[in-house]
């Protein structure tokens, strides 16, 4: 196989994987929340209601596509894909496994190992907000624009602590490439802990996680949507598959954020204490590393769901307060201390 063919396969694989995660997540969200709330959730379509996302998709596709009369039409149409696409694209730099040997060729399980993968993720996260703002603004509805404005303010505010938390990681590993970061997390730390980012950067991890929730617009930071206040916020006026894209993009986003969290703080595809490559064949190792990565990612995806159904929502000013008055100072202090330690130890 030529390189471009391998790349194509990887791209398709990642695409399908991201889609599948998003599809299954809509199901998990509904069933898990039901279980947490002593309900049953959708269980009619297919076994355990697994086809419910499909049914929802068909419903959304067949619905009438309404564009409000007073909407800015081009921007209105542009909004949803602008939101969903960056979320998909971020998957490109996610190292979803170590490597696999197929047909005598060693294939890295990552679409592209860009040496600034890390900045790429941050940049795409920032682009995603345009989808919301443009959608909210183009709808020409007060609720939508409030949602869009909230989204802007929130995402800008939380990019900063997220960036700070990630900077400490960069300081620690001395690289921007996600793949190298994962490779640097092998082995043990202080003799008994896995050499994971979370143990070296617990504060950074918490800041990153909180910021990730805010980036993904999840409860307690779901202010741009904010069902009970802004109807559904920036996508109030959307219907049919345009709405579907927004909802879908959100779950793809969750998948990306979970994958990044795993790569940065939880050792990526590697199992703690065990080196799988020693006793597994090259093909099996590739599959196993992907499985380990996926399981870790699944845990964080579940955590997103779990937290969502436990806590209430912030208020706009409190959200800003948390971001600017708590997370950013904490992030700065953390950065400073880490820089000091790195400087002293090297």
């Amino acid at each position: 196989m030529a390189d471009w063919q391998i790349d194509l396969i990887k791209v398709v694989f990642i695409w399908v994987w991201a889609l599948l995660i998003a599809v299954v997540m809509t199901w998990v969200e509904r069933r898990a929340s039901a279980m947490m709330q002593d309900r049953l959730g959708p269980n009619r379509a297919g076994p355990f209601g697994l086809f419910q996302p499909l049914a929802d998709g068909i419903k959304l596709f067949t619905k009438e596509d309404i564009i409000p009369e007073k909407a800015r039409k081009i921007l209105f149409v542009l909004g949803p894909p602008l939101f969903a696409l960056p979320a998909f694209s971020a998957y490109a730099v996610v190292p979803f496994g170590d490597k696999i040997v197929l047909g005598g060729k060693e294939i890295i399980l990552q679409v592209s190992d860009v040496n600034i993968g890390f900045l790429y993720v941050l940049a795409l996260g920032a682009i995603g907000v345009y989808g919301m703002v443009i959608g909210g603004w183009a709808s020409n509805s007060k609720y939508s624009i409030l949602g869009g404005l909230r989204a802007t303010a929130q995402l800008i505010s939380y990019e900063v602590p997220m960036g700070l938390a990630l900077l400490t990681i960069v300081l620690l590993y001395g690289t921007f490439s996600l793949r190298e970061m994962v490779l640097l997390q092998q082995g043990t730390f202080l003799g008994f802990l896995p050499n994971w980012g979370i143990f070296k950067q617990p504060l950074g991890f918490i800041i990153f996680l909180v910021a990730a929730y805010a980036e993904a617009n999840r409860v307690p930071f779901d202010l741009p949507e904010c069902e009970s206040e802004l109807v559904t916020g920036y996508h109030t006026e959307y219907g049919s598959m345009r709405l579907g894209l927004y909802l879908f993009g959100e779950y793809v986003n969750l998948g990306t954020l979970a994958a990044i969290t795993v790569s940065l703080f939880f050792g990526g595809w590697a199992l703690p204490y065990v080196d799988m490559s020693k006793f597994l064949g090259p093909v099996a190792y590739g599959i196993a590393s992907f499985t380990v990565f996926f399981l870790k990612q699944a845990f964080f995806l579940f955590l997103f769901v779990w937290v969502r159904w436990t806590v209430p929502r912030f208020r706009y000013d409190q959200l800003m307060g948390l971001g600017w008055k708590a997370l950013i100072p904490l992030g700065l202090v953390n950065l400073f201390v880490t820089a000091l330690l790195v400087q002293l130890t090297i």
Binding site: A34, M35, M36, D38, R39, L40, I206, W306, T310, V311
Partner: protein
């Protein structure tokens, strides 16, 4: 601007850092999650204890549930309704139309009374299921039954005619969902100023219309108000 009391926020340290309480909350939802996951592996349709899988799995309806009306028959299969129209008068939504017909020769096994209702229509679109008609009925002929699936495709079908009401009765009887005979409610009646003739006609299900049998009246004066008297509802 309105005046506002000055509120001081006094948080403990545990409350101040969000994570402690959130973790506790996560533990609580996790407990529910695990419990329900375990429960959902149980056999049968009623898995999660609080959910009913509606069409297959139904709640138990109280025997005195106020659902769709039915026109009652007695044990001999005679219609009890005499077409007096008390129900129509008692109805706050004015949804009952009753027309009285005279029983003809040869119809004795069909109707219990000398008169019967030639038409009996209940407009279910207006009905508010208050049960006033049931307590107003002197014969216990109109009863709010167990039926609760009342959706129809057109408005005409929502006007229940006599056949429909009788069919409701037959259905409820076949399913064994008829109301059990009600225990008469003890009424604290003041000592009757004048002797009333003994109640010959049956009193309705509601006890304020149940007339005191004469034997109770003698004792009534002796008993104090708190103790009161049980009244027997005259049997049909």
């Amino acid at each position: 601007m309105p005046r506002r009391p000055v509120v001081k926020k006094e948080y403990t340290l545990g409350e101040r850092v969000y994570l402690v309480e959130i973790t506790k909350g996560l533990g609580l939802t996790w407990k529910h999650f695990v419990f329900n996951i375990k429960a959902s592996f149980r056999k049968g349709p009623h898995t999660v204890p609080t959910c009913w899988q509606y069409p297959e799995d139904r709640r138990e309806i109280a025997p005195i549930f106020r659902g769709a009306h039915m026109l009652m028959l007695n044990e001999k299969g005679q219609e009890l309704c005499v077409g007096c129209g008390m129900c129509a008068k008692a109805c706050p939504a004015k949804c009952i139309t009753v027309k009285r017909g005279k029983r003809q020769e040869g119809e004795e096994d069909k109707y219990a009374g000398k008169t019967y209702c030639s038409t009996f229509e209940i407009d279910m679109l207006r009905c508010i299921f208050c049960g006033n008609c049931e307590s107003a009925c002197p014969k216990g002929a109109l009863v709010l039954g167990p039926g609760y699936e009342l959706a129809e495709y057109d408005m005409e079908s929502c006007i229940y005619n006599k056949e429909r009401l009788l069919a409701n009765y037959n259905e409820a009887k076949a399913e064994g969902k008829l109301k059990p005979p009600q225990k008469p409610v003890p009424v604290d009646a003041p000592p009757a100023p004048k002797k009333k003739p003994a109640a010959k006609k049956g009193a309705g299900a509601s006890a304020q219309k149940a007339k005191a049998p004469p034997k109770a009246e003698g004792k009534k004066g002796e008993d104090d108000a708190a103790k009161g008297k049980t009244e027997e509802k005259p049997a049909e």
